[in-house]
Amino acid sequence: MAVDGRDEMRPEDARIAALYRHATGEMPPERLDSAIRKHARAPKDAVKPQKHTLWRPAWRLPFVAAALAVVCASVVTLLVERDGGRLTVPPETPPPDGGETPPFSVQREPPPFSQSMTDRATVEPRSGRAEDAPTLTRKRAEPPREAEVRKSIPESKARIGERSAAPPDGRVLGAEPSHSSDAPASRGNKTSGGNAPLAYSQPPAPATSTSPDRVTAPPAPRAEDDSLSKALPAPSAEASPAAKPAPAANPRPAPQPESAPAPEAKPAPEAKALARKRLESTPSEPRVPARVSALIAELENEPPARWVERMLALRREDRRQDAEALLAEFKRRFPGERLPASLQQNDE
């Protein structure tokens, strides 16, 4: 074969070409043939989408999951915040006594179960004042309260005087003001229910002047208290040293429905029911079984002895969980209260 058309064709070139064709006859192996042919027959469009479907989730899924998580968290946070804000709006309840504001010193019943902000906010509107409504922070900052507090001092004094005049179960009432005046300091908002934030919100001067007056009265003992105090040595033993000023030793809140000045201090029943309903429906609240909430509501105004009785009764009925929940709430409300041996054993 000539190199170029212009070059003369040499006989050696033709022989070399023929010899080359004779010398080389290699062919690719069959397996290679079949592999290439098979690959050539593979539909291109069938492979491509499969790659895409496999590829997409590989990197998109984590992003989608993360985005969903963030959105869910945001929505939940928003909802919780909104619900909290909604709870601060007071129920539209008229003041019990024709618009007269109940004094702040009036011992309010402690919050039903939780001590969260929304809880307190739910309790506070019992004053029946529209300006109390929006938020706790606003309440704390409001100076006009001072006047109201001062206004309420005489009433509180009178009430305390009445109670101290006739201590029914022999408890020394003088001790009670000491630890209830300590209540904001030692227990803070925890056990003083709706009172605590108000007490903190007062400016120093009026607060000092009103603090003894705002002292909550000792729990008004009932007839059952006597029987319980006999059964339980703890409270009776505690009653006598209560005379000495040991405030933190027995920081007992005052859940005394009887001692609370009668009609004007009691919140309207509708408001109470509404507040409880809202509290139960609040998503941010700790989940309390409905029956336990009912029990707590039932015992809300009862003295500790009644609580103990109820807990014992629940245990007898083999409703252990309810009893435990009630016990926890009891401990929270009455931290200094001693428990009967049976309850203590179970508690340990």
Partner: protein
């Protein structure tokens, strides 16, 4: 190739049947290793299959195919160990004609003259510089003209022609007395 790009698998079969032997031998001559030649062969055909949709007629399919093969070979040479690098330079003929001719005299007489001649030719071919051997194989396996060889190897026509002339001269000289 256009027909295959539109889904005609039979067209590919025809292309493959026509070019598989020459291409395989071309690779075998160039890399001198059967396994490597098979690997390169498969790679090249895979590239052809992959490029079926985007194939544009710019030259003959043979030119296109051997251009792929040439590039693949260059990659292969680059990946090899530096000591085993093959020079693509025309001036660096690793083996002189005299050496090849001398070795022919040292070979014992073979029973089959044709096989001896073929072996001799292949031996001479392997002794050629890569570029000259490539030009020779492209011409004799793929039936390419000098222009096609120039296109495939990416050189000017004159360079391709020169490479081919040198290759033929060395082979003629080495095969003197054998033909």
């Amino acid at each position: 190739m256009l027909a295959y790009g539109e889904g005609d698998v039979a067209a590919f079969d025809e292309l493959y049947r026509r070019h598989k032997g020459p291409l395989y031998r071309f690779l075998l001559r160039q890399c001198r290793d059967g396994a490597i030649a098979e690997e390169l062969f498969q790679d090249i055909w895979t590239n052809v299959i992959r490029a079926r949709r985007n194939y544009a007629v710019a030259a003959r399919f043979t030119t296109y195919l051997y251009h792929l093969a040439h590039n693949r070979l260059i990659d292969h040479y680059r990946r090899r160990a530096p000591a085993a690098l093959v020079s693509y330079d025309d001036e660096e003929a690793s083996t002189s004609i005299e050496e090849i001719a001398g070795s022919a005299h040292e070979r014992p007489e073979a029973a089959y003259e044709a096989r001896q001649k073929a072996a001799r030719l292949l031996e001479l071919l392997q002794a050629l510089p890569t570029a000259q051997r490539e030009a020779f194989v492209l011409q004799h396996e793929a039936g390419m003209s000098i222009e096609d060889i120039a296109v495939v190897t990416g050189v000017t026509r004159e360079t391709a022609k020169s490479r081919l002339r040198y290759a033929m001269a060395k082979l003629r000289e080495g095969m003197q007395g054998w033909l």
